[in-house]
């Protein structure tokens, strides 16, 4: 078959489709979004009836994927690393119940935090849940690993994680496809002793999971993802995931001859690891992410033969590069031209003409009238209002946190207690917080910037927008007179200021919905209309 140029994320998607996928479930999150988008665009996926619309959040996505698996079909669930925190309850417990049809969790970590609030390493979750983790190093390996992951999941009846990081997910390479496999037939498993996690069942299932561990290790020993590379000398390298790429690149560029053990499937293949450690005086541990395995190798009392992120041989934080690994292997740092002093930063900003700009302009004017000026915010394009010229928001912690944090601050006596959240983030994790506010009759003003889309990740469908959003607020019990609709446009500035003033003064729950379509989605629609001649 022809080679196709695919992003790592797209290789995951195409691999899943070709491996007989029946459904993908996901909430957008950089760098994982393109997996689901690819499946949504795929003609083959459509022809084979692969389910692919967006879920409200990562937890609902995971549970739906688990349900599909119980019914016997192969399902894929995709998220960014922090999304797995949201889905963790479902994920951890699905390792106890086990699965029926293959269930693969594709999770994309973001070391160096290009688009994230932390650089947590999803391999921790793999160890925590005691399930197999695959960490391919190239786009082709990602593609091939999807077949392997589904087969593995069905053979050991556990969910399998496919972990990647930003650089692999957002990098293109040629990928050769394999033959497409049929989808599984519907074969819902009746197994309440597995799937009902009451303590008497859970104890048995947990013991089964523990008993499986040596088998998982054996499977890693024969995995194509774990391979030794011949070499000589006293220094060996154990290279995980795309760490392998930088090691091989450094070896080639600097003529370094050393043994390498490439790791792409966990739990670790013990004999291969032992062999490397026995043959070498010093072992460099190269992991993209946290030093998860380096810490295990060192143990509590440490080991003098191990080098890596924990002794400064490699930096403790941030993503790896060929340069960092080359220096860690003894190469001289490259002599380079410095960035000229005149080169200033070009921080990202809200788009020209974006409705959020007008919303924050009004908010800033009203906040200045108050002694306390503290705005709780959330995760989306509007987080950019933390930067000048607006400097309008003062928190961004996790999805949906703006509302609940405003409640706590109001309880502490802060007035006004203001939250700013987007429609998609509200649908993801804001609704339950709003219910808390209503139940407490908390004096908070929640501004929902409804731009009708999940804008930051590129304009995906938002579940809680327009009239649905208003109905949700009503349904959760916000008083009709305190659900205020504004249109964030220059010409409405005075009106909008007046609305905010009134609601800040109200000692109860207010929701101000700022309704204006995202300028990017509007432009996209226009381009599409122009292209089709309408």
């Amino acid at each position: 078959m022809n080679r196709q140029l695919l992003l790592g994320a797209e290789a995951v998607a195409q691999g899943a489709i070709d491996a007989g996928l029946s459904g993908v479930y996901a909430y957008p999150g950089t760098p994982s979004t393109e997996i689901t988008e690819y499946i949504q665009r795929s003609k083959e996926a459509r022809e084979h009836g692969v389910r692919s619309s967006w879920s409200s959040n990562e937890k609902t996505a995971y549970e739906a994927a688990l349900g599909m698996s119980y019914a016997g079909k192969r399902s894929l669930v995709c998220m960014k690393h922090v999304g797995l925190n949201v889905a963790a309850d479902a994920f951890i417990n699905s390792a106890i119940t086990g699965v029926n049809g293959g269930l693969v969790l594709a999770v994309a970590d973001d070391p160096s935090m290009h688009s994230s609030q932390n650089e947590q390493d999803s391999r921790f979750y793999g160890r925590f849940a005691m399930v197999p983790v695959l960490e391919p190093s190239s786009q082709q390996e990602l593609y091939d690993s999807m077949f392997h992951a589904f087969e593995l999941s069905e053979s050991v009846r556990l969910p399998v994680i496919v972990r990647m990081t930003t650089r692999l997910s957002h990098s293109r390479a040629g990928v050769t496809r394999a033959e497409m496999r049929e989808q599984n037939p519907l074969h819902a498993e009746y197994a309440p002793d597995r799937f009902v996690l009451m303590p008497h069942n859970a104890r048995v299932q947990y013991q089964n999971l523990l008993d499986l561990q040596p088998i998982l290790e054996e499977l890693s020993e024969s995995s194509f993802l774990n391979q030794p590379v011949e070499g000589r000398g006293p220094v060996g390298v154990i290279a995980f995931g795309i760490g392998y790429n930088y090691v091989m690149e450094a070896r080639n560029a600097h003529g370094i001859d050393c043994r390498v053990l490439k790791i792409g499937q966990y739990p670790l293949p013990r004999p291969q690891v032992n062999e490397l450690f026995d043959a070498c005086d010093t072992v460099l541990v190269v992991e993209e992410g946290y030093p998860v395995y380096e810490e295990l190798f060192r143990g509590y009392f440490g080991s003098s033969k191990i080098r890596g992120r924990m002794d400064g041989t490699l930096p403790r934080a941030g993503e790896l590069t060929t340069d960092l690994v080359a220096v860690a292997l003894g190469a001289k740092p490259a002599e380079t031209t410095a960035v000229p002093g005149i080169v200033v930063n070009r921080p990202p900003e809200l788009c020209k003409g974006c409705g959020h700009r007008d919303m924050f302009e009004a908010l800033n004017i009203v906040m200045k009238e108050n002694r306390e000026s503290h705005v709780f915010s959330d995760i989306g394009c509007y987080t950019l209002a933390a930067l000048p010229p607006y400097s309008a928001i003062h928190t961004c912690v996790d999805m949906g946190a703006s509302i609940t944090m405003a409640i706590g601050a109001a309880d502490a006596g802060l007035r006004p207690a203001v939250a700013v959240i987007g429609d998609s983030t509200f649908g993801h994790s804001g609704m339950t917080g709003l219910l808390d506010a209503v139940k407490d009759h908390a004096p908070v003003t929640i501004i929902i910037g409804d731009n009708e889309t999940t804008a930051m990740t590129g304009g995906q469908h938002s579940a809680a927008t327009g009239s649905t959003l208003i109905e949700i607020c009503r349904g959760l019990g916000v008083e009709e007179s305190h659900i205020r609709l504004i249109v964030p446009l220059k010409k409405h500035l005075e009106e909008n200021i007046a609305v905010l003033r009134e609601e800040f003064a109200y000692e109860g729950v207010s929701v101000v919905i700022a309704q204006r379509e995202c300028v990017e989605s509007a432009a996209k629609k226009n381009r599409r209309a122009a292209a089709t001649g309408q």
Binding site: V344, R346, C351
Partner: protein, 191 residues
């Protein structure tokens, strides 16, 4: 053969179209490719870059190592300077001279030109003017690809075929404008 190319610009300036053309030409020519892109937050008016690597042998890293880029191809002059640590000794800078000013402290153009002048015979292009002459200001990125063509290691005819493949779905008129833009850039650079 191996070429490491840094593509630079500001979010929304179309550097990924340049990458797509080179990718197409390299892939259909049987070469190995790694092309890392920036998605997500930085795309909103921030600095964006793409590391593009092509070779006739196996490539491992998606990222270019410091001091090993054969070419920095930038559609914005300040952005060309941002990636100088990646430039190999003897590497080439090809950049548009159209500034994209969305911050208050954007440096003076004379300073930028002076810094660009410290690199080895940089190719400096008034791309907007040429693109308009070709038929559309939006074809500025293809002017830049044309100006950089001789340093990509790929036959210009294959790059033109890539332009046809990429813009074909948008109609013949668009293809013609982009081919014209590409050739204008190429002519300027070959002088």
């Amino acid at each position: 053969m191996q070429k490491n190319i840094i593509l630079a610009g500001v979010g929304g300036q179309g550097i990924l179209s340049i990458a797509a053309v080179i990718d197409w030409a390299a892939l259909t020519g049987g070469l190995e490719i790694r092309q890392a892109e920036v998605h997500g937050m930085s795309q909103r008016g921030g600095a964006v870059q793409s590391h593009l690597r092509i070779a006739d042998h196996e490539l491992f890293a998606d990222l270019i190592a410091l001091g090993t880029a054969d070419l920095i191809l930038s559609v914005e002059p300040l952005e060309a300077l941002r990636y100088l640590p990646f430039l190999a000794p003897g590497g080439k800078v090809v950049t548009s001279l159209e500034p994209f000013i969305n911050m208050p402290n954007y440096p003076a153009m004379e300073q930028i030109l002076s810094e660009l002048g410290k690199t080895d015979h940089p190719v400096l292009v008034h791309s907007a003017e040429l693109a308009r002459e070709a038929g559309s200001a939006r074809a500025s990125n293809m002017v830049m690809l044309g100006a950089a063509a001789q340093f990509t290691g790929i036959d210009p005819e294959r790059l033109e075929a890539g332009i046809k493949a990429l813009f074909g779905p948008k109609g013949e008129a668009i293809v013609d404008i982009n081919i014209k833009a590409f050739r204008m850039g190429q002519r300027l650079s070959n002088h």
